[in-house]
Symmetry: C2
Subunit: 337 residues, 2 copies
């Protein structure tokens, strides 16, 4: 392996000069810089990551903690992870992939060993066990998702409360008076995942304000579960004409079942989904939807965490406003019989 010392010798300068050329922390004459850069290229030099980390006590690595579970939002998680990785690279950082498996201990380990300079946590629960550790660690950190108590922490997320409200508004404006919500699997609510509860709150609050009926049901992602949930909803509220779906896996089953029941979309019932645009476009009916801006969230998380690493300390809540795109699955409510 080529070392900095060899580059220095090759270029006829001292090691520190090479280091300053690399870091740009001191002014270097154009001639010297050129010579050093030439040597670096010729020798194929790459600075040794460990030595660099030891000397500077910065690793240029961001840790990304992903959920271990895969019971929801797999494409969203993936898109966020890829966005985090590419954005991190554009800041000359790499990404360390941690899973939820290790739990809070992972935070301690990564912080204690100086493996990563900063952390991004996904799948944050309302009362997340990792948060106390994170606060006391004093490392730059950003959460994707919003816990119950976000003081001292920076969070990025879609504004799910507003998202819920927006979905209800859209259907209400179209004249729908009875709306059913197909939510995430029950387990998601049981572990108090922030986004799921916030969406539900937003839905309920707006529905109450607008005086429309709202039935919220959790639902597993398989066809059979969707069939059961749907028939129970229609038993309880036969006049339901609007559906809001926040469960990617349930979308196709729902559309398929509605078709079988002879309910045309959007003539008889309207469907609004909360999902990535790609999913909405690829569904068997092009879905009116509120997009989950996964890439944007990943990108923002990295930008924010880099800002914090640079010392700009702003503990803020970065809630992305929801955008609803009208496609082919929503229309005016049918005239009441």
């Amino acid at each position: 392996m080529v070392t900095l010392a060899e580059v220095a010798r090759h270029a006829g300068v001292s090691a520190s000069t090479v280091s300053y050329v690399l870091s740009g922390k001191r002014s270097i004459s154009a001639a010297t810089r050129e010579r050093v850069e030439q040597s670096i290229r010729e020798l194929g030099y790459h600075p040794n990551a460990g030595a660099r980390a030891l000397a500077s006590s910065r690793s240029n690595i961001i840790a990304l903690m992903m959920p271990l579970r895969t019971d929801m939002y797999v494409p969203v998680m993936m898109e966020i992870a890829l966005a985090v990785a590419t954005t991190a690279r554009s800041h000359d950082h790499d990404v360390l992939l941690l899973t939820g498996e290790e739990g809070p201990a992972a935070v301690r380990r990564v912080v204690g060993s100086g493996l990563a300079d900063a952390m991004i946590l996904m799948d944050v629960e309302l009362d997340d066990a990792r948060l106390p550790l994170l606060r006391e660690a004093g490392r730059p950190a950003v959460l994707i998702g919003v816990p119950a108590d976000a003081t001292g922490l920076t969070c990025v997320d879609l504004d799910f409360t507003a998202t819920g409200a927006l979905c209800v508004e859209h259907l209400a404006e179209l004249g729908h008076r009875d709306i059913a919500v197909i939510g995430e699997a029950a387990a998601v609510y049981e572990r108090h995942t922030g986004f799921a509860e916030r969406t539900r709150d937003g839905l309920r609050a707006r529905a109450a304000e607008l005086g429309v009926g709202l039935l919220h049901r959790s639902c597993e992602g398989d066809y059979a579960a969707m069939a059961g949930t749907l028939s129970r909803i229609l038993d309880e509220r036969p006049g339901t004409t609007g559906f809001i779906v926040q469960n990617e896996a349930a979308i196709e089953p729902l559309l398929s079942l509605l078709r079988q029941l002879g309910k045309a979309v959007p003539e008889d019932v309207s469907v609004v989904a909360i999902c990535p645009d790609q999913v909405a476009v690829q569904a068997s009916v092009r879905l009116t939807s509120v997009a989950i801006p996964a890439s944007e969230m990943g990108r923002r998380a990295v930008e924010l965490v880099m800002d914090k690493a640079r010392g700009e300390k702003k503990d803020l809540l970065d809630l992305l406003p929801p955008r609803l795109t009208v496609r082919a699955s929503s229309g005016p409510a049918p005239a009441p019989r």
Copy 2:
């Protein structure tokens, strides 16, 4: 930050003794070990990753190169990544997440800087630009997927050729004489992704051997594309009674379209999928399928790469044998009219 020297002082031993307690590379008396471990716990010591990497020239990090594209197999990729991360942890390693974006340069960078001790590459193409670099780098590496020329490299993958053959066999045994294959999106074949081509080869070879008709069509994952592809298939081969699907996104659209055409599954047509078991079980018809053992692949990749890092040099091709699970979507071919 607590350092090893502080632990040594606290325990009343030398720094090297602490180091040997940690690494187990020299014998240490039970009493001393106990005392040192006690000090480590009391002080909350974590070895500094950079210093360790510098001194030992091993980073205890495995780099995982993921595809940047998300036009296929997102859940599979995710599952592999999570399996890699958790298995790596059980070997006391961490995972660095790289995207395809940087391309071959990423290999050079990671190897050159000593950031990672080993690499795992996903989404390997038949003639992958990263492979020459990998070979000359001389780092332990494992590919998930099989390139055209695998000499000097270790690969893990499902045996897709056998998978194709197995699907055809199953349908042929049930009496189907005309089989259509719904493949991945055209782009996947255009960039010569190994698994897609191998599957096609396996399908064709076995079909020829068994004397059954086989029509292979690439297909995008959306409903409209699937509708077009299906109608073209049925135009060309109206007698088609067996479908093999290797495109997760196309599964539900296909089932939904068959339903609309009044073709009952499995009475009129049989469907065999190549997909993770979870997808097969959650579909609107429980699908007969060949599983893509994503977790197993991720796990194996890590085990193999760790073996290589330990010096056991075996350049092998670890092809997992396909397993076909019969579920509710395949049955005897209907009697010819």
